[in-house]
């Protein structure tokens, strides 16, 4: 989606028709709009969100609870309206998307009755026109839905935002928003939904069809499967809820730690606690490893512990047989049978059946064993010794692992005592009420986290796995039920196809997930590394949570208490990485018609783009901003448009505008842009404020 032009008609400060043209893609892809405080920068940002989504930002709503009660019409235009007259307030936006040109318009009609009261005649209504492949103009029957499809509502906070508030993306509260944005924008959500729908309703319908063609046995199986499926779904939901609760508790604990970190009195105690907690996590991990080693050893050699008597008695039997001369046998059975078949002894004498010599040779068969038995005797004789040695070794290994585990458990108990003591000291009221209250809350959170991590989550995970196994068993049984007719067989083929496609979707989604995490992290790190002054690392974790970390003793630990400016840079970096990845995917998809992932072109519209940033950050952000997206539209006040920003952006600007504000106060001033003077604020001559766009000559 690339914006070409917007026309504001009697919308808030913008009286009459106010067209503004934007720079589109290419090297000069930046549009800069200068405006004094109150000139309408936020109103312009909201003009975009209104026309596309029928929504407004909280600061624009200004206390109004819903968008429909916001007065959008220009005050002067409404004042000039005769009783019974009507005013049409609208935003028209011309843009391109996937090779088509669109004109979107949203309007509202308001009238003034005989008493001068405002009445909404036509509530907010959207239209969407486009030019199709034949060059003919058409109207979309469902404009809101078409617009949603191009840029879903849940993505708009990433592309239309106020730069002074963008740091919220780096807060734990925005984790879900970010993860949702990445999933939707970069196709993971699409795959997940397809998987869920195939595994859910589609598979259910097909199984019903199969079993309805498979008699009573099939119906019984299906009823059982439906019951187990219900239990499985309930457990999956429970498991997801536990995970969400755990994430929320961990975020709460992080927030408490950040607050405690700011209290100088506690520095020493907090450092000791961090070290102890780190050690505690390591020990728990080691105990887990020992437990796994023990389980492995028992599964490999545990059976030998149960058979020492059998080994002993087998050895005694073999020894006794050898002592009695029964072992080893002098002759092989096959050898004796071959001689009898050939009717000639190895000494050359003839062996006629019924003769004495034939009977003597035949008598040797009683002293032989079959080849199979002989082999078993040989193997058992050799194997018993090996097995007895393995029993000894295994017992030694298990003793060693158990002793290591016990010693780790003792250390863990000591550490837990130390942590409890530290917590009591941190929460001591001698440090004040705040630390005591925070620490008390932290203790409660800690115990809830332990309960979730060590009891509830493992339990429900096991239940989910058990139900999954049970479902797989029932599916195998259903598959084996006789299907009497072609309809049942067709349903089975369809179910097989649905299962196979579902698996492919799941595997591709996992690949995409890894790809996005890696690529977005790399891009974020690149941008952050270029701009940030501090030696922190920026990345996205596996759950797409935005992380700022630093190296301490060779280990990555989260940064606590990052400044607002740092968070703003991190958030901008994330938005940029997201847009760049979507664009990269889009460009690749354009070259390959069979591409699975679509991506897209998304513009950035930023109010107060350089909000609270320090000079160093401003320069770097300005240099890098035009590379963030195919199109960048920024609104700035005079104080935000500083020398370093102008220097960096000048060669990338394709359109530049001044919002000339007419104010009721008697003051006026100019703004100097590209060595020319432009009216910035002027006095209104009719007692109403209004704003007009004035284009800056680019030269």
């Amino acid at each position: 989606m690339i914006f070409e032009q917007m026309t504001l008609s009697d919308f808030r400060q913008f009286a009459g028709k106010q067209p503004i043209r934007f720079a589109t893609e290419g090297r000069q892809n930046v549009t800069v709009i200068h405006g004094f405080n109150g000139a309408g920068k936020t109103a312009l940002l909201n003009a975009f969100t209104w026309v596309l989504y029928n929504s407004f930002s909280d600061d624009f709503l200004d206390g109004e609870e819903n968008a429909s009660s916001v007065r959008l019409e220009n005050e002067a235009a409404f004042a000039a309206l005769e009783p019974g007259g009507c005013i049409r307030t609208s935003i028209e936006l011309i843009f391109r998307d996937s090779g088509r040109k669109y004109t979107a318009e949203r309007f509202i009609e308001v009238s003034k009755d005989e008493n001068g009261t405002r009445r909404v005649v036509t509530p907010a209504t959207a239209t969407l026109l486009y030019v199709d492949e034949s060059g003919e103009q058409k109207e979309s029957h469902n404009p809101d839905e078409t617009l949603q499809r191009m840029l879903p509502t849940r993505l708009h906070p990433f592309f239309f935002f106020n730069g002074e508030r963008i740091e919220r993306l780096a807060s734990p509260k925005a984790y879900q928003e970010i993860a949702g944005g990445v999933r939707t924008l970069l196709d993971i959500e699409l795959f997940k939904r397809a998987e869920d729908h195939l595994e859910g309703d589609m598979s259910r319908r097909l199984r019903n069809e199969i079993t309805s063609h498979a008699g009573d046995a099939g119906r019984e199986l299906e009823a059982e499967r439906a019951k187990v499926d219900g239990q499985f779904e309930a457990k999956v939901k429970e498991s997801e809820q536990h995970e969400r609760n755990l994430a929320a508790l961990e975020e709460d604990r992080e927030r408490i730690d950040a607050k405690l970190d700011t209290m100088a009195d506690l520095a020493n105690l907090l450092t000791r606690r961090k070290e102890a907690e780190k050690l505690e996590a390591e020990i728990k991990n080691s105990i887990r490893e020992r437990r796994q080693d023990l389980a492995r050893e028992l599964s490999r050699n545990g059976y030998l512990w149960l058979v020492p008597d059998v080994l002993e008695s087998a050895q005694q039997t073999l020894t006794a047989a050898r002592e009695k001369g029964k072992l080893p046998s002098l002759y092989r059975l096959q050898f004796v049978e071959d001689i009898l078949d050939s009717k000639q002894c190895i000494c050359g004498a003839e062996l006629a059946p019924g003769s004495t010599s034939y009977a003597q040779v035949e008598g040797l068969k009683a002293q032989t064993y079959s080849d199979g038995l002989q082999d078993v005797v040989n193997k058992t004789s050799g194997g018993i010794g090996v097995l007895k040695r393995r029993v000894d070794e295994s017992q030694g290994d298990i003793d060693r692992l158990q002793s290591q585990r016990d010693s780790l458990r003792t250390k863990l108990t000591e550490l837990e005592e130390e942590l409890s003591e530290l917590s009591a000291k941190i929460g001591d009221r001698e440090h004040g009420e705040d630390p005591a209250r925070l620490e008390n809350r932290r203790r409660k959170i800690d115990s809830e986290i332990v309960m979730l991590k060590e009891v509830r989550i493992p339990k429900v995970r096991k239940e989910v796995a058990d139900f999954r196994e049970e479902l797989a068993r029932l599916d195998r049984e259903i598959r084996n039920v006789e299907r009497a007719d072609a309809q049942g067989q067709l349903a089975q083929r369809r179910l097989d196809a649905v299962i196979n496609v579902g698996r492919a979707l799941s595997r591709i989604r996992q690949l995409r997930h890894t790809e996005l995490r890696d690529d977005l992290s790399a891009k974020l790190e690149e941008v952050w590394g270029r701009i940030a002054i501090k030696d922190y690392s920026a990345s996205l974790d596996n759950e797409f949570r935005l992380r700022l970390t630093k190296q301490i003793d060779g280990e990555e630990v989260p940064v606590r208490g990052a400044s607002t400016g740092e968070k703003q840079v991190l958030s901008l970096g994330f938005v940029g990485a997201l847009g760049a990845k979507a664009q990269d995917t889009y460009e690749k998809a354009k070259k390959s018609p069979s591409a699975i992932f679509r991506g897209g072109l998304y513009p950035l519209v930023i109010d107060s783009a350089f909000g609270n940033l320090e000079v160093e950050y401003r320069r770097e952000v300005a240099r890098w901003m035009p590379t963030l997206a195919p199109q960048v539209i920024i609104m700035v006040s005079e104080s935000q448009w500083r020398q370093e920003v102008e220097q960096e952006l000048l060669s990338r600007i394709g359109a530049e505008w001044v919002m000339r504000l007419e104010t009721t106060k008697n003051r006026s001033r100019n703004i100097t842009l590209r060595d020319a003077e432009y009216s910035y604020v002027i006095s209104s001559d009719d007692g109403y404020e209004r704003t007009t766009f004035v284009e800056v000559e680019l030269g």
Binding site: R149, R193, H197, M202, R494, A497, I508, E515, D519, I596
Partner: protein, 59 residues
């Protein structure tokens, strides 16, 4: 070390090659149907759309 684009493409291809022709067609039509409703938080009638796709593809 992130994988290269060609490694990723190779993995993707090998997953799709495990599907037979009908299944590949189903795969692509299912994604198209989902794409049409991705903007909806609860995609209305999506199961009917998918059922139509399935019954048309696997006959």
């Amino acid at each position: 070390m992130p994988e290269s684009d060609s490694e990723r493409q190779q993995k993707l291809r090998s997953i799709l090659e495990e599907l037979d022709e009908d299944e590949r067609e189903l795969f692509s039509k299912v994604l198209q149907a989902e794409q049409q409703k991705i903007h909806m938080s609860i995609p209305r009638n999506i199961n009917d759309d998918l059922w139509k796709v399935l019954t048309e593809t696997i006959r």
